[in-house]
């Protein structure tokens, strides 16, 4: 799994992030290749979301490097990082609430729009073509995530599970190589969780992307991830396959407390 030299995919090496005296993440290392399904777990406050935010450029790392396809991306802002092919969803759903479902997805295509201000104002043929194309792509993506019948809904009126899926669709619209999911199953019932697991596997296969999942739900993570990193108090306490991690005494301790 580990490669020492520059390789395809997302690679974080010895990343640390401090907030004043608080060391939110220390020496965090991770490698997600295209096609991988990697999980990042840990109890509340372990620094999982901070690690995410460092990777996606919301914060810069205090130390360490983040590379995408061998190119250093630490210190980039979220927009640049997205353009490198890393897309993310949020723990608390952040949709564009007053836009329609289709618009939410098409926003992700924006960076590839080629008609300029002139085309927009005079509604040139190129503009019309590109709009039709982006709508077609948007519908295609919605169909893949089975949201196409709700394309004209205002996003905030969607049921919770659909909002989660729409957020994934929006992230996929930016054509990522690596997709980061921040607690995608939060607030879902077991049936929805099962569907989500299937969905995550499906998009991994369909788009051939690497997926990094933060999750609390051990069952979900253990069943879909091929590789796990466990954080506690900002430190990586275990890495490996689900089976290895499950039996790691440190992990058990972190989750259940010290043996009495």
């Amino acid at each position: 799994m580990k490669t020492s030299h520059a390789a395809a995919g997302l690679e974080a090496r010895c990343v640390s992030r401090n907030f004043g005296g608080l060391r939110a993440v220390t020496d965090f290392s991770l490698h997600v290749k295209c096609g991988d399904l990697v999980g990042l777990i840990g109890p509340n406050g372990a620094g999982k979301t901070t690690a995410f935010n460092v990777i996606t450029g919301v914060y810069g790392p205090s130390a360490g490097t983040v590379c995408m396809n061998g190119r250093r991306i630490d210190g980039y802002n979220p927009v640049q990082i997205n353009r490198c092919g890393i897309a993310r969803t949020f723990q608390n759903i952040r949709l564009f609430q007053n836009l329609t479902v289709l618009d939410n997805v098409i926003v992700g295509f924006n960076q590839s729009a080629e008609h300029g201000l002139f085309g927009t104002i005079f509604r040139t043929a190129k503009f019309a073509r590109e709009r039709a194309a982006s709508e077609a792509r948007g519908m295609e993506l919605l169909r893949t995530l089975r949201l196409d019948d709700k394309a004209d809904y205002i996003a905030k009126n969607l049921p919770y599970g659909d909002q989660r899926r729409l957020e994934i669709a929006r992230a996929l619209a930016t054509n990522p190589r690596i997709l980061l999911l921040d607690e995608p199953a939060a607030g879902m019932n077991p049936q929805e969780k099962k569907e989500l697991m299937d969905l995550i596997r499906f998009i991994r296969g369909k788009f051939d992307i690497g997926i990094l999942v933060i999750e609390h739900d051990m069952k979900l993570v253990m069943s879909i991830c091929e590789y796990l990193t466990v954080l506690d108090h900002g430190e990586t306490i275990a890495t490996g396959t689900p089976d290895e991690v499950q039996n790691d005494p440190k992990v058990i301790e972190a989750y259940l407390g010290e043996p009495a």
Binding site: N82, F96, L117, T120, I121, A136, R143, N175, F202
Partner: protein
């Protein structure tokens, strides 16, 4: 950036024939027709011999036009990009003064476009050079951070101290010696701008000679509008770049301050008339263009004189109203507008899907400022005198009220509210009876709309008829009890605003438009092969084996 996904989709299946050049034609064809209509109405207004209150009605008409341009352009900033700006009138002021000055000084009563153009060119060159120098300076300061994190702060403090000392010491000399670099720099910029303007005049005169005689008037007006509007746009850029880092209330306060600064700077500029403002600006209607129609009554016929096409003041203003609405509409409901709205909805999520939030906020701000500048330039050429006192914060707030009352994120709402809030206070001066013509007018307006889609417009009809009824009752009871409605004008007006916000806080249209934002996209209803494969039973298999 061609993506893998788009290659998989056969676009020809999704492309109806009118998405080609035909769509461009059908989109833009109504515009010349609308311009023609406006031209006809303008001609009709100017050739008719109105007996009573002509000036008053005409002023309401013009004020409505300015209000629409301002409200729609502010809608782009406040409604679509969600950046609450309270300084919009400042941009109109920049447009008004920087169009009025060259029109007054160089255009020889709107007949000499060349020197005016050269004035704006000189201004552009000066601003570009100074701007480049400043940008390089600030980049340098910013990148000094790499040497030491405290270096930028130290450099800025040193620079500021140097500037203060330089200016203060230089002021004690009648002719400051060369070692006062900054003082010389500033006066050098001023004198080189003057040099550019002066030497541009000769070339400008040549340009005028080359242009056909009948085009000179319209060219003057167009150059004044575009020049004034560009100045407003650049001001918007300069104001917006730092201010748009703020959010919500903080941004509102910052823009309020910026509007005041613009006002003060213009008052303190002697060339722009100081506190008195600029007077005797050549008016559109005094040119060969407008004159044709003023003379008509005497001649008994329309004499276009030397002009290419005689556009009246009304036609100029309402053509710009149409252009403003169309341009902002198209921007707002395009990919760019979608990104702007995404920034309004959630900045963090927007940047996570690759939208440069600052860029989109600044673009909306600059375009809004540009159109406010156009309104300003026309205002100057219509009113003939402009006064800094008429561009106060109060006006800014009136525009914000229009935008909010119309419904944030609704262009047609802004237009409606602008019309309503300009006409209403004037109507209350001498409240006319709504019976029967008010009801007839509402009925006629709504007949077409109801035939088109009665479900959507029936509530509107009921509300309008109810309002007219209330109006009529109010008027009758005021007569009965001897209350003077004109005295209570502002009370009624304010009460209506309060009631409106209580009963319908989302505004008149509440983020929707009167007519559909666009044609519904063509979609095939039948599921494709792929989505059928993706039935729940197949999805479990997960990764496709390759």
């Amino acid at each position: 950036m061609s993506s893998k996904k788009s290659d998989n989709i056969d676009l020809s299946a999704h492309r109806p024939p009118w998405n080609g050049w035909l769509s461009t034609v059908s989109c833009n064809a109504p515009l010349p027709i609308l311009f023609l209509l406006v031209w006809l109405v303008g001609t009709w207004i100017d050739t008719r011999d109105f007996q009573r209150n002509y000036g008053w009605y005409k002023n309401i008409l013009f004020d409505t036009g300015f209000a629409i341009i301002l409200a729609v352009s502010l809608q782009l900033i406040n409604g679509f990009s969600g950046q609450f700006s309270l300084g919009h009138i400042g941009f109109m002021m920049v447009g008004a003064f920087l169009a009025a000055y060259p029109v007054k000084a160089f255009s020889a009563k709107l007949t000499d476009p060349g020197p005016m153009l050269m004035f704006f060119v000189a201004l552009a060159i000066t601003v570009a050079v100074v701007g480049t120098v400043l940008i390089l300076l600030f980049w340098g300061i910013r990148y000094s951070r790499k040497l030491h994190p405290l270096l930028p702060t130290v450099l800025i403090i040193l620079l500021f101290v140097w500037l203060m000392v330089d200016l203060a010491r230089a002021a004690t000399y009648e002719h400051p010696p060369a070692r006062f670099i900054l003082t010389h720099g500033i006066s050098g910029v001023a004198s080189s701008f003057n040099w550019l303007v002066e030497h541009g005049q000769q070339f400008g005169a040549k340009l005028t000679m080359w242009s056909p005689k009948s085009w000179r008037g319209p060219l003057c007006i167009i150059i004044a509008m575009l020049g004034g509007a560009s100045c407003a746009g650049v001001t918007g850029l300069v104001v917006g770049m730092p201010a748009l880092r703020l959010r919500g209330d903080y941004l509102a306060i910052a823009t309020l301050g910026m509007g005041e600064i613009i006002n003060r700077v213009i008052i303190l500029t002697p060339a722009l008339g100081g506190a008195l403002g600029l007077g005797s600006i050549p008016r559109i209607k005094d040119t060969a263009l407008g004159k044709a129609f003023i003379d008509t009554n005497a001649n008994g016929r329309i004499d276009t004189g030397e002009s290419f096409i005689g556009f009246s003041e009304f036609a100029w203003l309402y053509m710009m109203v149409i252009i403003t609405i169309v341009v902002i509409w198209r921007l707002a409901y395009s990919a760019k507008g979608r990104a702007i709205m995404a920034v309004r909805e959630d900045e963090i999520a927007a940047s996570a899907v690759g939208i440069d939030t600052t860029h989109h906020k600044v673009v909306a701000f600059v375009i809004g400022a540009f159109f406010a500048g156009i309104a300003g330039a026309l205002y100057a050429m219509q009113k003939s005198s402009i006064d800094p006192k008429s561009f106060t914060m109060q006006r800014s707030i009136e525009i914000v009220v229009m935008v909010t009352l119309g419904g944030l994120g609704s262009i047609s709402g802004a237009v409606l509210a602008a019309i309503l809030l300009t006409i209403l206070p004037e109507l209350l001066r001498d409240p006319p009876s709504a019976w029967p013509w008010g009801f007839v007018a509402v009925g006629v307006i709504f007949i077409g709309l109801l035939i088109w889609d009665w479900r959507r417009f029936l509530p509107g009809l009921i509300v309008c008829a109810g309002l007219l009824g209330i109006w009529q009752l109010l008027r009758m009871s005021a007569q009965r009890y001897g209350v003077s409605l004109p005295d209570l004008r502002m009370v009624i007006y304010s009460l209506m605003l309060v009631l409106m916000m209580l009963l319908r806080p989302q505004g008149l249209l509440g983020g929707r438009e009167l007519w559909p934002k666009r044609r519904a996209p063509q979609r095939e209803a039948a599921p494709t092969e792929e989505s059928r494969q993706l039935g729940p039973e197949n999805m479990v298999e997960g990764r496709v084996e390759t």
